[in-house]
Amino acid sequence: MTLDAARALNKHAVSKLVSVFEDTRPQAAGQRAEILDALGPARSTVIGITGTPGAGKSSLVARLVPAMLAESDLSVAVLAVDPASHVSGGALLGDRTRTRFATGEKRAFFRSQSNAAELGGLAPTTFQVTRLLKRLFDVVIVETVGIGQSELDIRYLADHVYLVLQPLGGDEIQFLKAGIIEIPDSFILNKCDDPAANQSYYQLRSSLSLARPFDEEVPPIYRTSARTGEGVDEVATAMLAVQPRHSDAEREEYFFGRWVEDEWGATGRRYMAGRELLAGGFDAAQAQFGPGIVEWLGKVE
């Protein structure tokens, strides 16, 4: 019943399923396996949107989603991650403020997540929720907290990563070169209504060819303004055309490793090495991991 309603993109039904994929209780793993089974294979692409705080990621998403809906018959889900307080564990999920879609539009779905005070740009359950949303929506957009800590996560999760930048000074571009400039597949220079944008664009272009010798050609740099809407349609078109990059098996392997690391640390990694744990599926592997490692530890001692 809920599944049918979710397939029809009923918001409450989708939301309830998302909650199952965010559920941290052990018994939820079994429910997740059943739901995925019933929904069948995933069909959509995942778009990663990352960028420094203040670059205007949310405002851009607010423009992009309606543009994507207007341009196609496809449905779009957005997962937006915000940082949590280290003291209370609570988070202010503020992206929604800037991203208001029409009420009752079933083809768009917006969910905020807290990064639960972990370092990465994603929430611990972001991967889980994309497994679900990929079976319900045609395009899944994941907006990260920021950049800096764990670019690999978004690189594995998304079929295409867009880095949103605001017009910068030359020094800041130098800083970018150091690490994060290597991750994204495309660049979006937002706030192009700013007079500094033009110069920034050419600086970025020239920096890219230096910083990314591995590229055969310079990656796309889009120029947008979330304020005026300039350039938004072009990015929307590009996003709709993104093709899958990773197989689900590759993703599961990576995120299973990440999960093991978070939950069990180096010991978990050692136990995992050389074992074909994912043969019975991701959820079963998670469910069996605890008992398995405990037994192994008993034997080792």
Binding site: S15, D23, G90, L92, L93, G94, R96, T103, R111, A116
Partner: protein
Amino acid sequence: MSTPAALPERDRPWIIRTYAGHSSAKASNELYRSNLEKGQTGLSIAFDLPTQCGYDSDDPIARPEVGKVGVPINSLDDFHVLFDGIPLEKMNTSMTINGTAMWLLALYVALARERGEDESKLQGTTQNDLIKEYLARGTYIFPPEASMRLIAEMYEYCLEAIPKWNASNICSYHLQEAGATPVQELAFALANAISLLDLLKERGHFDDEQFERAVGRISFFVNAGIRFVEEMCKMRAFGELWDSYTADRFGVTEEKYRRFRYGVQVNSLGLTEAQPENNAWRIILESLGVTLSRNARCRALQLPAWNEAMSLPRPWDQQWSLRLQQILAYETDLLEYPDLFDGSPVVQAKVQELMDEATAEIETILGMGGVIPAIESGYMKTALVRSMSERMSAINSGDQIVVGLNKWTEGLPSPLTAGDDGGIFKVDDKAAEAIIAGLEHTRASRDTARAEAAIEALKAAARDGSSLMEPSIECALARVTTGEWAGALREVFGEYRPATGIEGQQLGLTGDRVEVLRERINTLAEQMGHRPRIVVGKPGLDGHSNGAEVIAVSARHVGFDVIYSGIRLSPDEIVQSAVEEGADVIGASVLSGSHIDLAKQILEGLREQDADEDIAVVVGGIIPPADATELEAMGIKRVFTPADYELMDIMESIVEILEAR
């Protein structure tokens, strides 16, 4: 501050006003006429929220708010009724109107033209300060650039056409209501005025002589809180700072154009629902802050009523406040002396301290490029939310004493609230129907072609950058409606949503209660499989967001995941947020008196989505006890009023609701 050489024997009393308007143009007209008979010397018009936000009374978002906090004005026909029997040329009319200020001024001018009165003799003020709307009051419509253009065009129109009209009133009033310290009040208001003058200069519409006069038209609307000595010093600091900025930055040579002209509404934020009779004394003391010092005395004063924390005031409550002003001005000897504080080293030192700190802050804001960048980056908003959170923390911890609220709370029951109506005012619900009928009559009887042409001309002017004043006056004469005028400009300029200011905020509260609550929330998170989620929002058109902001900050402080979407949300939007986000609770804040209608719509929305069992709803606001009972009967889990000022009590009740499930 210089002392005029020859003092008149007695200072002239300030303009005595009460902020009033409700239900309908007809009812408000009767109220104004009776207030003028009682000796009031100017009008101060309160408009309802749909008028302030640019919606017609029959717009679905407007419907619950029609006539609630002021008078609804849909077209020039309503203005004819509102000012019936009141001579415009002789009246000083202050309009609390911002997002639609140009429209209301256009209506006023059009009314004078149709009545055959001399337009150039009109005098009064349109509040028209959008900066404080973005920061605190929430009735903005357009993005900052378009808003500033409208303000500038009104100055450009008024200077020659209506020379006694104050095109805008720079407001620090609402900043204090939103938690601003005296230094923030000084700095933000002055930075706002300076940025406006910078813009007027840049637009190049005025020659030097006109610009100097335009500086002289800048007036201010200030708050006065309970720390009345400091407030008096603040007013002196305002005067001195304005004098030096206008002289140094803008080269104004004529002393009279550098004078800091200001009106006051004293503080409502500090008024309590607990032992409400005490508010009468607070209002008196707050009045002293802006009247004691002759050289820093207000030009106009309006006072809140003792029961504002409970409901909208009744006519008797307003009369009581009016009498206080009259006693102060006419019974006491206050107006007989020159300035009482000139030469006081204590006052001088305090004024200097305020000026130094305010100057540093003004320079910071101007360094960012003025108030607009400081709004867009969230800088000013964040500072205000922090001040408000600190204030609430101090009251909660007992560091700041509020008599009857956190100290000496035992008291006898107040006979003031014992009357049949419980000491509160109820808007006549039937009034809205008559208003909508009137609006339909206007639409049906007007010359459609003329109205349509007027709207097209307005849009064309908005696009090509020419002044919108005359096209707006033509719209008014053509019986274009408020919603049509604002709608046309929304089409061209778009709508704006400013920063909420709550990101990165910390609450100063610590201690066992906070720790225990965090533990309880962690336990709940384990049981539910997710951290409890709350959607905090303000449904409807009321934009006084500081209560909702403090609740959002507090909820995060104790460990909730908080979805805060800001103001002016339709009940449907709040429901959709809560449903999509998998929220456990909705906290809705309503101060406009429309709580019953809005709560009903939220509950219905949840039921339609089949989510009413998953999502509990609590409501906070100025809610009379009878209404609280009705809300709870309807399915609202808990109602919070200003008496629930203890943030941790509020958080505890919300946690209890979740634990009970």
